[in-house]
Symmetry: C2
Subunit: 392 residues, 2 copies
């Protein structure tokens, strides 16, 4: 059965090489005082920083800055940003970077409108309402999280060892600039991690307990084929525009809400991975790459087999005349081959410095003390089993 | 090369069986005086009229009505609607119907804001600017034109025998209600015509002179597979929700702008078909069905072959090991088989009452006295040749 849903993705996207000329006008729609947020120095190295500052100055806007937003962005940066917004009466936030910068900026934008600690938006106990947020414009420099077009933010709290997410339409960017050339300097490794993240966003929806919406399954298969085709090209030829453009646009559509249709959002690998990167601070996409094939293996049984068959034949072109269970197993092999051979990502927990020390606590947090709903409902013991499968 | 583009589709869609409860609140966002537009009595027969009126009354809104909008909607209905809006100080238009009703309503919404004749928006010589338009909400009852989510309107002028289109973001609906059950009573024939229309919207973009954006080609292939799979099911089982839902959502995405990416909009079959239905008042989708395979045959040569091969293998599953030209020809056969056997649409001009009388004038108008750009540039003689191919 196809469930009722509301489709509402009002983000304006400027896609391409020559779009920043529109930045000033877009910012001006929201005011004159701009807080630009970014991470390390990479946007300065590629000249993007200078270009953005020039556009802002030419538009006669007042520029404030917050740099140093971490990968796996931390609540302290968010607190700092929210404070800056309040002190300087910021009208609009401009996030220049990847998902970490955009995610942090989203919670800053909400934090700027309240008196309480921004962590209250993430804290499972408090889950403070997001009644409004300052408008956000983003300039994307990494194809991965889809934050440029979605309603989500994931923030780490090193004190509590939590990494928690929040969804709210109020924090969705109003406008995003997607220039594939801004990703030309992304390393092969980060390109691979991004590709794994995008694949995971699609797999989490594709392998789901709700029945299919055929049209959206076709779209998901197309997006996955796009990642499989272009990620290795972008790794080999970092300035291949076609490859970067395909990865970039696919990253947005993997998670902006379109492919979800009426399915309930019941993800499995992301909640597990967030516990890994909360403690080990590994790259999100890498953690997902290690977990996903094991999770698929763990969930495979006669009742769920048909989805693997669909995946294997439509995405990887596995011979449909083979026995269904054979196709299903081969589809996991093909995905592993893509992640660990083609993308050259590390295959096991030990290779990325994760041992069994925190398995129990991570598993308990992943299922939030109960059951993680999804393609196959998982309890703490299930998650520990999946973690164990990642050890070799 | 992938061209720069702006993606901006801010339509909110309420998809599903139980969404009309949101109608009152959505209308109220725009005002209190509502002009409801519709065609014949079909919305009364299915109970939709009563349901809509009840929602409007319950919301305390003032209702005005304009019925009788024709298939291939005429400028006189548009003029009447624009006048009604002015006289009654209408705040928001509610189009309940298929593409004809929504298209007519779009030009009414623009016409309500100006003093000149609404035909001036369509007239190629005048092409009056659309500076603003009243807000439009639509409730869709036919999966075909995609008008519920796009910026286009096509209007007929029987006096001048013109059928002309206009694109403008100002006339895009703000909100559309897509309830597949509202299409349960659509006849097998109209379902088939709608499916042909949707296929054509995709084929016009897929077969294009600009280079490909692989991800979007994959999406288009998925949409076409969706139509091919579900149109015959909907014809056989008119109340099959899954089939109607897939057709409905695919109709929106075939033409809302997403699949276009940076490609230039250079359509071929639609301009030709508009000349047919301007004179013969045949159903738009039927005209497209007759024209499209002939146009594909006419354009096929060594330089354009690869696109047919991609189409044939990815959409129809033709054996990729065959010779490319053989695959290309088979892909046209497969499409013809779908249109004329599966959808049971008439195959030739004589079967729908078109003879050679107006070939020259229709061809000249289709190319607008010059060249129709597109997959293969067409001049008047080319269009006449394609028309001739439709005679048998």
């Amino acid at each position: 059965m196809i469930h009722d849903f509301i489709y509402d993705i009002p983000v304006r996207i400027y896609f391409g090489r020559d779009q920043l000329k529109n930045l000033g006008a877009e910012l001006k729609r929201y005011g004159t005082r701009v807080l630009m947020t970014y991470g390390g120095g990479s946007i300065k190295k590629i000249g993007l920083y200078d270009r953005v500052v020039k556009e802002i100055r030419d538009a006669g806007l007042e520029l404030f800055e917050l740099s140093g937003i971490e990968p796996n962005p931390r609540i302290d940066s968010v607190r700092k940003g929210a404070q800056l917004c309040k002190e300087n009466h910021i009208d609009v936030l401009l996030a220049v970077g990847g998902g970490s910068t955009i995610d942090a900026t989203k919670i800053m934008a909400a934090g700027a409108c309240v008196d309480h600690d921004p962590w209250d938006f993430l804290d499972i106990q408090k889950y403070a309402p997001i009644e409004k947020a300052l408008p956000i414009i983003s300039i994307l420099t990494l194809s991965a999280t889809g934050s440029e077009m979605d309603t989500a933010a994931v923030i780490s709290n090193p004190e509590t060892k939590d990494k928690l997410g929040r969804l709210d339409p109020a924090i969705r960017p109003k406008v995003s600039f997607l220039d594939p050339t801004n990703t030309f300097t992304v390393s092969a490794y980060q390109t691979a991690c991004g590709a794994a993240d995008i694949m995971s966003h699609i797999i989490e929806v594709y392998f789901n307990f709700d029945e299919e919406f055929y049209m959206l399954d076709c779209v998901m298969e197309g997006l996955m084929k796009t990642i499989i085709r272009y990620a290795p090209i972008a790794m080999r030829e970092p300035d291949n525009y076609e490859a970067r453009a395909n990865l970039m646009w696919a990253s947005s559509w993997a998670i902006n809400g379109f492919i979800l249709g009426g399915k309930r959002k019941a993800w499995s690998c992301h909640p597990m991975e967030h516990e890994l990167s909360a403690i080990y601070d590994i790259t999100h996409g890498l953690g997902l790459a290690i977990l996903t094939p094991r999770w698929m293996e763990y969930c495979l049984d006669e009742t769920r087999m048909s989805k693997y068959v669909q995946f294997g034949t439509n995405v990887f072109g596995i011979d449909p005349t083979l026995a269904p269970m054979e196709i299903a197993r081969k589809s996991i092999e093909k995905l592993s081959d893509f992640l660990f051979n083609t993308l050259q990502l590390k295959r096991t927990f030990p290779e990325v410095g994760i041992d069994r020390t925190h398995f129990a606590v991570m598993a308990r947090k992943a299922v939030n003390g109960g059951t993680l709903p999804g393609f196959k409902p998982l309890q703490q013991a299930d998650v520990e089993n999946i973690f164990e499968m990642c050890m070799k």
